[in-house]
């Protein structure tokens, strides 16, 4: 765990610096002024005006890099902008997808496609940040992403497991923002590797481990009595939870080897497939929000070749995930999202072996389960996929739709450390026609 680092960094700094500096930088704890503390207290009293929720959990597939809408879910057969990608029919009348999604096509009766997504952020970091938080990236504040909002407002279902998890993402996507450090997502790099550092090392016996923890507690106790700071409590909480998880049967949720080879192969053996399988296992045990990141969608060059590599693992993973959730009775309460930061230019760049560049003006996302009415395509772009001509869905609206499904109050304001009010989906309006 992080204990070693903690002590290593402990010596050269003063105690006070440890509180304000090391804890902040090393552990990601941010100073929580009285405003937020009041807000927290209010929430504990049940003042957060939560609403009926259709969805309880979210599995959020994120296509990092910007997924081409024309080559996936907004196909325009015959248009000059379509290139060689072909359209295929699906199980849902009137919904077509590209040739790269033959497996998902059979599950499209469960999926709502939004073809009228629109963002104003055309660069990766900015677009990604906007999709995850509903706010624009700026230097003065870090906004929480949807998973953190959900955990903050709804709490955890299973208190042993982390409230929200990011698979294969790195730290720059989901974040607790200005919320407590305890709302930081648990990052998992390789879904097949289990939860790293979660087992007691062999040469330390259970007794000895307990003894060490006890000793640590004694030291901390004195320290905490002297410096009564919120960050310290946050850290203690994270630490305590980690130990609880180490000893828990729930830990096996992370162990994909408990799934049969057939099932694992069915999800696909890449990171997305195994990530989705892990997501299912976690949601089944009460983790609220799992993001699975698929990288490499930034197809400036060789767009059409690369779509043939990028799409099939996602096609397979998502098709398997939907079928699996459905058979287990989990799809009713699990909102499955496929999102990306922007689409790609309808105009094909010929000097880079047929590439496509960034295009936030129009792109596509998917929603399924969690009360979403499947088998529908919402919103339209023009004949060449250039502009949204019907039912525009902005990034904030998209997030508002997710929040609405989860019963999170869209108007409820939470204050940042600097005292500014923020809302779960900013000023977005949910697309109720999707339910």
């Amino acid at each position: 765990m992080r204990l070693n680092h903690l002590f290593r960094d402990f010596d050269p700094t003063t105690r006070r610096n440890f509180v304000t500096g090391a804890a902040k930088g090393l552990l990601g704890l941010s100073a929580m002024p009285w405003v937020t503390r009041l807000a927290n207290a209010a929430e504990k009293k049940g003042v957060v005006p939560l609403k009926p929720a259709r969805a309880r959990n979210v599995i959020y597939l994120y296509m990092a890099g910007g997924m081409s809408h024309l080559d996936t879910f907004d196909v325009k057969p015959g248009a000059a902008t379509q290139g060689p990608t072909e359209a295929i029919g699906t199980k849902a009348d009137g919904v077509r997808v590209s040739q790269h999604f033959p497996l998902l096509a059979k599950q499209m009766d469960k999926v709502a496609v939004i073809n009228s997504m629109n963002s104003n952020q055309g660069a990766h970091a900015q677009g990604r940040y906007y999709m995850h938080t509903g706010y624009q990236l700026r230097g003065t504040i870090k906004h929480p992403s949807l998973g953190a909002w959900l955990e903050k407002m709804r709490g955890r279902v299973n208190t042993t497991l982390p409230g929200h998890v990011v698979v294969g993402g790195g730290a720059n996507t989901a974040s607790n923002g200005f919320f407590d450090a305890s709302l930081t997502p648990l990052p998992i790099g390789d879904p097949t590797a289990g939860l790293s550092n979660s087992h007691r090392v062999e040469h330390v016996s259970a007794e000895r481990f307990e003894h060490r923890i006890h000793r640590l507690e004694q030291m901390n106790e004195a320290f905490r009595a002297k410096y009564d700071a919120r960050q310290l409590k946050d850290h203690a909480k994270v630490f305590e939870e980690a130990i609880k998880l180490m000893e828990s049967k729930d830990l096996e949720a992370f162990d994909l080897s408990q799934e049969s080879d057939a099932v694992r192969a069915s999800y696909g053996d890449g990171r997305v497939g195994q990530g989705c399988l892990l997501a299912r296992r976690l949601v089944e045990r009460g983790v609220r929000f799992v993001e699975v990141v698929s990288g490499g969608w930034d197809t400036h060059s060789e767009n059409f070749d690369r779509m043939g590599d990028l799409c099939p693992p996602v096609d397979r993973a998502l098709a398997a995930l939907l079928a699996d959730l459905d058979a287990r009775g989990l799809l009713d309460e699990t909102l499955v999202v496929l999102a990306t930061e922007f689409g790609r230019t309808p105009d094909i760049v010929t000097d880079r072996n047929l590439g496509r560049n960034h295009y936030p003006k129009a792109f596509s996302c998917l929603l399924a389960g969690g009360g979403i009415r499947g088998g529908q395509a919402y919103g339209k772009t023009d004949a060449e996929g250039r502009n949204v001509i019907e039912d525009l869905v902005g990034v904030q609206d998209f997030n508002a739709t997710i929040a609405y499904a989860l019963g999170l109050p869209l108007e409820y304001e939470v204050y940042s450390p600097s005292g500014r009010p923020f809302k779960v989906a900013h000023d977005g309006t949910p697309v109720k026609a999707l339910f």
């Binding site: 729930d250 698929s294 990288g295 398997a320």
Partner: protein, 359 residues
């Protein structure tokens, strides 16, 4: 062109006749109507002799158990099937031909997309008039019952159809007649390992979950729920150690909407015990991963049941079909359609691409 005129005339004639019928609604002696040109034949229409042959000849091909999935989920081969109706609700409203889709759909112009029977095999005007008269006279089936297999829902049928689309409508409705559960009872249940939360904020109805996969959750764990009986709407016991013995207690949860017992030791015997209990609100029953067989399902008949999960049980395909037929408003999930495992060429994940980009 000629055909169009003919169909127009037919429709006009029928519409005219229907309105003449409604104009006479105020008359106290219904028998005195002349039936739009028909002679004063006062004998009431006999369903079995006059209507049934029409249905058999023109409708049964698609709307009977001859099809695994009758069109529009509508069967016309039994009295109760006709009254229950299909996807869009009842097909016959006794006494009201104008509100009976059976007549409405058949009276559309011949070239209308939705006209029944399809493919140009439409009813003759006289036949339509006969059906209209039969409905007007109260849609009496006489002694005929036809194929069984469906129980007539109670008069609160509207609620049932709402429950399938929006569980919150039923949570709200049920919640209105309940008081909040006492905090001490909730605390007691929590102590016994249950996670208790309202189904939505402010609702007296509760969701009660036990940790999935926990061996320590047994039949005895349910005892702590007794004081909450009326308040529990969702009970989740996924992969716990409960057995058939728990079913009687579960059957006492009068307002249970969703029951999840997948992966438990529950068997046919337990399911039969459960089926004997009255769970008037039960909409979702999750049994996947249990050892349930076809035999366990035969007694299952809750009025509002909308979904039954049977994947990975010993229930056979025909057994699942039978249940779906017996409960036409209920979706039976029997299969898990995972994509067939395939080859390694699907790996990708953009690794190759990322390398390329560095160049």
């Amino acid at each position: 062109m000629r055909q169009y005129f003919l169909s127009l005339l037919t429709t006009l004639a029928l519409v005219g006749w229907l309105s003449s019928v409604s104009a006479q609604e105020m008359e106290d002696d219904g028998m005195s109507m002349d039936g739009g040109g028909m002679e004063a034949d006062v004998a009431t229409v006999n369903f079995e002799q006059q209507i049934l042959p029409l249905l058999r000849e023109s409708c049964f091909e698609c709307h009977s158990d001859a099809k695994r999935k009758p069109k529009g989920n509508l069967r016309l081969d039994g009295k109760n099937w006709i009254l229950v109706g299909g996807k869009t609700g009842t097909s016959v409203v006794a006494g009201n031909p104008g509100k009976s889709p059976l007549l409405g759909r058949s009276s559309l112009p011949d070239d209308h997309d939705d006209v029944m029977p399809p493919n140009g095999e439409v009813f003759e005007t006289e036949q339509l008039q006969l059906i209209a008269r039969w409905i007007k006279e109260g849609a009496d089936f006489g002694d005929w019952t036809g194929k069984a297999g469906v129980e007539l829902p109670n008069p609160t049928r509207n609620d049932a159809s709402v429950a399938t689309t929006d569980p919150f409508a039923s949570y709200r409705r049920i919640g209105e007649r309940l008081n909040a559960a006492p905090a001490t009872a909730i605390a007691k249940a929590t102590e016994a390992g249950a996670r208790v939360s309202p189904v939505f904020p402010g609702s007296p109805l509760l969701r009660v979950e036990f940790a999935s996969g926990s061996d320590s959750v047994t039949d005895a764990s349910l005892k702590a729920l007794a004081p909450l009986r009326r308040n529990i709407a969702i009970l989740s016991l996924r992969n716990t150690a409960i057995t058939d013995a728990a079913m009687a207690e579960i059957g006492r949860l009068a307002n249970l909407v969703r029951l999840e017992i997948p992966g438990t030791e529950v068997t046919d015997a337990g399911l039969r015990t459960l089926a004997k209990t009255k769970l008037p609100e039960l909409a979702i029953l999750n049994l996947y991963g249990t050892a349930i067989t076809d035999a366990g399902l035969d007694q299952l008949n809750y009025p509002k049941l909308a979904k039954v999960y049977l994947w990975n049980t010993k229930v056979t395909a025909p057994g699942a079909d039978m249940l779906g037929k017996r409960l036409p408003n209920c979706r039976v999930i029997w299969k898990r359609e995972l994509p067939a495992a395939k080859a390694r060429e699907e790996r990708g994940d953009g690794k190759r691409n990322r390398k390329k980009k560095k160049n």
